[in-house]
Symmetry: C2
């Protein structure tokens, strides 16, 4: 299967450690080989040698849009609809206020308990700073968000892919439900961009946010992004109105005049080294067919589920992700009472995945660099750990700060 | 003077282009030589090789505090009072809301028209999102901010050093005036940290923000910082309540529970490459005596003012910075009707400064790497440009995007 994989040459574009199987690209993607020269050039030529002149000569000020336009193609968005900046959490705040600004006569935000927590925390932050805002939460595993969307709802904030189970939400269908009720919908794409074909404009999405350090391989903490559909850009506002979002930042006006385009979502100066590093990851996608990425992704996760079912089911490991490939994104989540210890034992065997409380093991498979051979080896390692109870050792139970 | 300069060896810690005199470190500091190895290690070892494990093994999650503690020493703050994160603009938003949270019965923010504009824009953003907030502005050049501070004022937001003139505000005196009226004061340190001895706790300051890419030499767009005095940290709140500010972010709780320490000012994931690059600049300060830095700074700027007065005054160049060295930070600002063209002509002669609308030329002198010889050469170049009207050529009038 690896020999006939149409994506087999893509792996060679990444710098992967020789001794491990990396199944955590859904948390931090590996380094593209091209990125080291990019970073060195940014540090030595643009910063050290050209210094302040690089704001013009190296386009530093425009990278947020240039890379936003590259990313737009991966998200099914148009030129001028995506800008790279800040963190996902910060962009969620802008998107929530932005959505509220488009529906001034409403003040309910619908969100999901199953959301990646920062989405909820930021929603709480918006509600704490705007006393009229009310939050309506879809309860854990109730799967009835459509019942919560009525004509009081200003904004619906949902994760395109569940960060634990990998379950995909139907973007066109839920967007339509939100629109039928007159609400604005915000899609959090952290776990879908780069692993699924995403079609924001096809679904008529209003706003979206996401990070670039997972499947997009932008580097640790690489800047996030925000998307706004063109039809909303002129009217929308957001309160993080820093000088980079000003219509004419270098006029140094006393009053804020928001940019008329996507730059209105910018706030302050962006971290250029981390921003530049994102380029190499985005450029890999320029040569990729996302349908081929999706086909391989489904095959790999199907294969891992089958192998785990057959070789580890008897030891109490259960599949937490949807079993139907079309409902599942790039990761397979498993549950086990001592999941943390199993994850640690597997890491010791060179299979890097991660753990999410209370008992979920997550294994992310990237069609860009993972092989079918790795899927088999990972499942075989898990089988050995379970069969011989290798996880049941004290050192595997000691929690690290960051899991 | 250069031979007897006690800081003469510090210049050798920087990678400076051979062909220019760099007088724009008040906008973007040059690269410390040590930074290239730091960046390469972060990219190749921490990211590419160690991957997700670096959150623990390379302390990625804790760098924001570790570097915050290094920076605290430069700011006259204590351990646990400074955290590195986001941009100055974003941190201004947190600080303003934070200040308002400490004075719930008040809603006036006092700020300065002469402020760096983003401070005003963010203040507008806070007022736009909180309808009770009123802004009271010190008018341009009125210099009467103390008259605006009364018992309706929740927060006073001021720049420690004026970004155009370089004029220093008296931090202990204005802090006392704010406190006497029961207000919270926020100091923007962008143009003072690293060039002046700053003593936040000596002045009993409440909150402060600033960037790290000017005199601190952290690299283009390196993350900013926020300071909160220990006495305020427990009570203070801010609405950008992302998961990095949670008391236990890896518990993935559904509800936000703010961290009890300085991490409560964090929001989302930080850009690790840009964050790491900051280390080398901060470490240079560990060996420096800030009094020696200040002495050299005053001597250099006095010297430049004298030379410009004597050799360029007759051509209409005026000194915009305070003439008294004790009232002036690291830059000398000049005014001239055709200031933009003069700045460009000087750049062509290898003297890099910058321009701020409408007619201000700014020359920043860093005692860490600038020499007295450079001060003389820069003034001589300016004299030649003025005497021979070299600025009066069409190409020098063509505005660049970023000036």
């Amino acid at each position: 299967m690896d020999q006939s994989d149409p994506l087999r040459d893509v792996r060679d574009l990444f710098d992967l450690p020789a001794d491990i199987i990396y199944l955590d690209g859904n948390s931090l993607g590996p380094a593209p080989k091209a990125v080291f020269a990019e970073i060195e050039k940014t540090a030595k030529t643009e910063w050290a040698n050209d210094l302040i002149r690089s704001w013009n000569s190296a386009d530093w000020f425009k990278l947020v849009e240039q890379y936003g336009d590259k990313l737009a193609k991966i998200l099914g968005a148009d030129t001028g609809e995506v800008v790279i900046c800040d963190s996902t959490s910060i962009n969620l705040y802008k998107a929530l206020y932005g959505g509220l600004s488009l529906r001034p006569d409403r003040a309910v935000i619908v969100a999901e308990t199953n959301s990646f927590p920062t989405d909820l925390y930021i929603t709480e932050g918006v509600a704490a700073s705007r006393s009229d805002v009310k939050i309506r939460l879809e309860k854990e595993d109730e799967d009835n968000i459509e019942d919560l969307i009525d004509e009081d709802v200003a904004v619906v904030l949902v994760n395109h892919v569940d960060y634990r189970s990998g379950k995909i939400r139907d973007m066109p269908a839920l967007t339509k439900i939100a629109h039928d009720a007159g609400a604005i919908i915000i899609w959090d794409l952290c776990h879908s961009a780069g692993i699924l074909p995403v079609d924001l404009n096809g679904a008529k999405a209003d706003l979206a946010v996401g990070c670039t350090y997972k499947y997009l391989n932008g580097g640790p903490g690489s800047p996030a992004y925000i998307f706004a559909a063109k039809r909303h850009i002129e009217a929308i506002g957001q309160p993080l109105s820093g000088w980079w979002g000003h219509a004419n930042p270098f006029a140094f006006d006393v009053s804020y005049q928001k940019d008329r385009g996507i730059r209105k979502f910018l706030c302050g100066t962006q971290p250029i080294l981390s921003l530049r590093a994102l380029k190499s990851g985005l450029e890999i996608y320029e040569k990729l067919d996302m349908r081929a990425v999706r086909t391989k992704s489904m095959t790999m996760t199907d294969m891992f589920i089958d192998l785990v079912d057959n070789s580890c089911g008897e030891f109490g490991i259960a599949i937490y992700s949807p079993r139907e490939a079309s409902k599942r994104a790039g990761q397979v989540a498993l549950t086990f009472e001592h999941g943390y210890a199993v994850a640690q034992a597997l890491i010791e065997q060179g299979v890097i995945g991660d753990f999410r409380a209370p008992n979920i093991l997550r294994y992310g498979f990237s069609p860009l660099y993972n092989t079918y051979g790795e899927v088999c080896t990972a499942a075989a390692s898990l089988n050995r750990i379970m069969k011989d109870r290798l996880w049941d050792q004290e050192r595997f139970h000691k929690r690290l700060t960051v899991t």
